[in-house]
């Protein structure tokens, strides 16, 4: 009935507008692309580029006041933009499957996982009798990688881990045997190793069934590795499209070039402070472009660090933390989150602590900051053991050691303006008077490259990147020597991430800061760290300089982590 030469999906001049209090805001300005049967296409862009809006518009599930204001969404020749509600209900699930972004919020917490899969199967007419539906549900979940599906069907979403829930959502997306699967950032919330397993699995499933896949992602590496065709979006427009490798190696549009340059990958080298770089390199070198500068500067830095022996500012010895986990009633079991960890951090350098979630890396950060009490072992900061400090001494210690946390939305009080947020540590530690604090806030805002007028604004008026700069400024307020960065750039878009990493590198060379950088993202480690410690299940399994770890990883676990970085093997052109 359907001519195989008509594309599976053809999006024509698609426009989407949102009604706001300040009038209509257009989120998509006439987007055009096609997806053929069985083809894998990826849409890449930063947040706000319109990539998720495009995905939602295809199945007509735009959030809030969003409306398709012009254009067509032709699915096998039928225009979904004009389709009736019941027609759309027929297409959703059965013809077009959808895998949403956040596994934590996309399953209804009050229904069992089995129920939520079964209702999808029933709604799409895949099976009708209760037994058939159940059989199909188990099959779908097993395919999605839940091996003990028949046992876990009656369990509720909160009893599953994030990775398991994402598998359930993939299972739901594929349970109607759709011709097209839209996967909106399907693995952004997951660890790299889990991400790899899930994407591999998705590849096999859709490959076997000949399902076309539309990936929405901000991760260029992932897009290049998984998709045949790449679409780059920027502010509601498609700025570039074509075969993935071609786009990545010969990007034509300046935005794509910036995006690729900003993406930390295995090929990149450590970021250098730009002033230092300018001072140390000749004019001839500079004209060759950024990448050359970075590599030579990184080598110089590595040599410099190797030649001058540095004292350790932080020394962690046999650090252990045991949590008691209640198992019901009054019983509890011990869980060793951090197991005999030893780590030295030389002054003025960056040490990255890497591992999957649950590996204990954030617990190490909390112990170091004195936010948790160690079960045994010692942490010495500048020669003093901090595990035995009293409250008052710990208060003093905080002047030399400050944290920056992951979520720039959660770590700033929405009711306190930026100036007061940055000045708060000064106030608590009784540094200076009103005027000198104000002056320091201005100085700090300049240091993190934010306009000083921002001091009177509130967090909700700032973008994610600006907020994280504020968090960095707050950490710098007391002129600390050590900054603990717990996933400080994980929540940011690549371009913003690159800016913050650059800022951190500059501040380090300017102020001689020592960083403990906690992350699950090895690509970021490559560009920011001098030394790397890899954690697995509470232990440090590998510890060496960044170059050594990346060039000759000693442990299988480290190799797994490195291989799991999307697009690791693809060379990017700028």
């Amino acid at each position: 009935m359907i001519d195989q030469r008509t594309p599976l999906l053809e999006v024509k001049d698609l426009e989407v507008t949102f009604r706001t209090q300040r009038g209509e805001v257009r989120a998509l300005n006439g987007v055009n692309f096609t997806i053929e049967h069985g083809e894998t296409v990826a849409i890449v862009g930063e947040s706000g580029s319109g990539k998720s809006t495009t995905a939602a518009a295809i199945i007509n599930l735009l959030p809030g006041t969003g409306k398709i204001s012009a254009g067509q969404v032709l699915f096998e020749g039928r225009d979904l933009a004009q389709a009736s509600r019941t027609d759309l209900e027929d297409v959703r699930g059965k013809e077009i499957g959808f895998v949403p972004q956040d596994p934590m919020s996309n399953l209804n917490p009050v229904w069992s996982v089995g129920f939520q899969v079964e209702e999808t199967i029933r709604a799409n007419g895949v099976a009708t009798s209760a037994r058939e539906v159940k059989k199909k549900a188990v099959e779908v979940l097993k395919q999605a990688g839940l091996d003990d599906a028949d046992k876990r069907m009656r369990q509720f979403p909160h009893q599953f881990s994030g990775g398991m829930r994402q598998r359930v959502l993939i299972g739901i997306g594929l349970s109607g045997d759709p011709k097209l699967l839209i996967a909106d950032e399907p693995t952004s919330a997951l660890d790299v190793t889990v991400q790899r397993r899930i994407l591999d699995h998705l590849d096999t499933l859709t490959g076997d069934a000949g399902t076309a896949v539309l990936f929405i992602t901000h991760d260029l590496g992932l897009a290049a590795e998984r998709a045949e065709k790449l679409i780059v979006m920027y502010k509601g427009d498609i700025v570039e499209a074509g075969p993935s490798i071609e786009v990545l190696q010969n990007p034509l549009h300046p935005y794509t070039q910036r995006l690729i340059a900003a993406a930390p990958s295995l090929a990149s080298r450590r970021i250098q402070a730009s002033d230092k770089k300018l001072g140390e390199l000749s004019h001839a070198d500079q004209s060759l472009g950024d990448s050359v500068d970075l590599i030579s500067a990184a080598e110089e830095r590595a040599e410099h660090l190797a030649s001058t022996p540095r004292e350790s500012v932080i020394e962690i010895r046999d650090l252990t933390k045991v949590f008691k986990i209640r198992t019901g009633g009054f019983r509890s079991v011990d869980f060793t989150a951090v197991d005999k960890v030893s780590l030295e951090i030389p002054k003025g350098t960056t040490t990255a602590l890497v591992g999957e979630s649950g590996s204990g890396k954030s617990t190490v950060a909390k112990l170091l900051l004195g936010l948790e009490k160690a079960t045994s072992g010692s942490i010495s900061v500048k020669g003093r053991d901090i595990t035995t400090l009293s409250g008052r001494e710990l208060f003093g210690l905080r002047r030399t050691m400050q944290p920056v946390f992951q979520d720039p939305y959660g770590t700033l009080d929405p009711l306190v303006n930026i100036g007061n947020t940055i000045a708060e540590p000064l106030k608590i530690h009784k540094v200076g008077d009103r005027d000198s604090r104000r002056a320091r806030v201005t100085e700090l805002l300049e240091q993190v490259a934010l306009p000083t007028a921002l001091a009177d604004r509130y967090p909700n008026e700032l973008s994610g990147g600006q907020r994280q700069r504020v968090a960095v400024a707050r950490a710098l307020a007391l002129k600390p020597e050590i900054i603990v960065l717990d996933e400080a750039v994980s929540a940011l878009d690549v371009l913003v991430q690159a800016q913050i990493l650059q800022l951190l590198a500059e501040l380090q060379s300017e102020l001689g800061l020592t960083y403990l950088f906690i992350t699950h993202d090895l690509a970021v480690v490559r560009v920011i760290a001098d030394n790397v410690a890899v954690m697995q299940k509470g232990r440090i399994v590998e510890q060496a300089s960044t170059d050594e770890v990346f060039q000759s990883p000693q442990q299988q676990y480290t190799r797994d982590l490195l291989e799991a970085i999307p697009g690791a093997g693809i060379k990017l052109g700028v």
Binding site: I59, L61, P63, R85, T86, E89, D90, V91, R92, G93, K94, G97, F98, P100, D102, S105, N106, L107, N108, P109, V110, W111, S112, E119, T120, A123, N124, F156, H158, Q159, L169, I172, G176, R326, T327, G328, G329
Partner: protein
């Protein structure tokens, strides 16, 4: 689940002890001599007064009296009223009437409140939503006795739809009008709560996912929106029961319902201490039991609570 139930019951014990102590203390602190009050205008001889005081432990210190009282509560013996009736018998007559009235009111409130709240939430900002807001505000600001009189006069007397008073025969049809009046005083809160809860649930990612699975609009609303929205509404129900018991005293007075409220009111006026203490104790017990039941319903609706250890 068993742990959950046991914990809820254990938590109720200190509440029961605290409230009964408070009740007992307040009644103890009431002015006047209860024994003298027994005789009204007559002057009994001192011998008899002393004997009665000893019989009722009134010569003992407060705390001892309280312990005697606790013993009686635990053994289920609430003593006799001034008129010589067993308080247990009075309770047995009145509690079923008030319980029936409160239950009817809650059922009406739930059905009307959830239905209007759901539609208002789904049509946020539209005409239905706005008019439901106006009507709720109206019912919220008018005191219950005004609603009662209007109902009695309009629906009962003018239109003749309901009997104007209940009287001795407190059957379900006769209790309908007072139940509607009680429900009307509470339904506004229920509507606003359901509406807010529905709007919040609609914004959840899993609702969009439910649509993306190809479910029909009706099924998404029934299965994924309504059930989740009912969780906060159910919690409110527990507090409503308390308001209902108080509201019942007024409503029972107006409609002449032979329930707890009426009897308690009479007992307070006449200064019948044993009856007041017993009735309030039973009402507190009733309230605690209702709230434990609601916590269990809550656990049924929300598995995250069920599995908390």
């Amino acid at each position: 689940m068993v742990f959950y139930v046991i914990r809820r019951i254990l938590q109720a014990i200190p509440v029961l002890i605290g409230t009964t102590f408070l009740i007992y203390f307040l009644v103890f602190a009431m002015p006047g001599d209860p024994v003298a009050a027994l005789f009204g205008d007559k002057q009994p001889n001192a011998e008899l007064l002393k004997a009665l005081r000893e019989q009722y432990h009134l010569n003992e210190p407060f705390i001892v009296q309280y312990l005697y009282y606790l013993r009686d509560v635990v053994t289920g013996n609430f003593g006799t009223s001034f008129s010589g009736q067993s308080v247990n018998a009075v309770l047995a007559d009145t509690i079923p009437v008030t319980a029936r009235l409160a239950l009817m009111a809650v059922i009406i409130e739930m059905i009307v409140g959830v239905a209007i709240g759901l539609v208002a939430g789904l049509r946020k900002g539209k005409l239905f939503d706005l008019s439901s807001l106006v009507v709720s505000l109206l019912f919220l600001s008018v005191p219950i006795f005004v609603i009662a009189f209007i109902g009695q006069f309009g629906l009962g007397f003018k239109l003749g739809l309901f009997p104007t008073t209940v009287g001795a025969d407190a059957s379900i049809p006769r209790l309908l009008l007072p139940a509607i009046v009680l429900a009307a005083s509470l339904v506004a809160v229920n509507i606003r709560l359901t509406r807010g809860s529905v709007i919040e649930t609609l914004g959840n990612d899993f609702v969009r996912t439910a649509f993306s699975k190809g479910l029909s609009r009706g099924r998404v609303i029934r299965v994924h929106v309504l059930r989740n929205s009912l969780i906060p509404v159910t919690t409110q129900l527990g507090a409503d029961f308390g308001i209902l018991l108080v509201g019942a005293t007024v409503t029972e007075g107006i409609f002449n319902v032979p329930g707890v409220g009426q009897t308690l009111y009479q007992a307070i006026i006449r200064g019948e201490r044993p009856t007041v203490v017993s009735f309030v104790t039973v009402m507190v017990l009733f309230y605690l039991v209702v709230n434990i039941v609601i916590d269990l319903v809550y656990a049924v609706l929300d598995p995250r609570i069920r599995y908390v250890k």
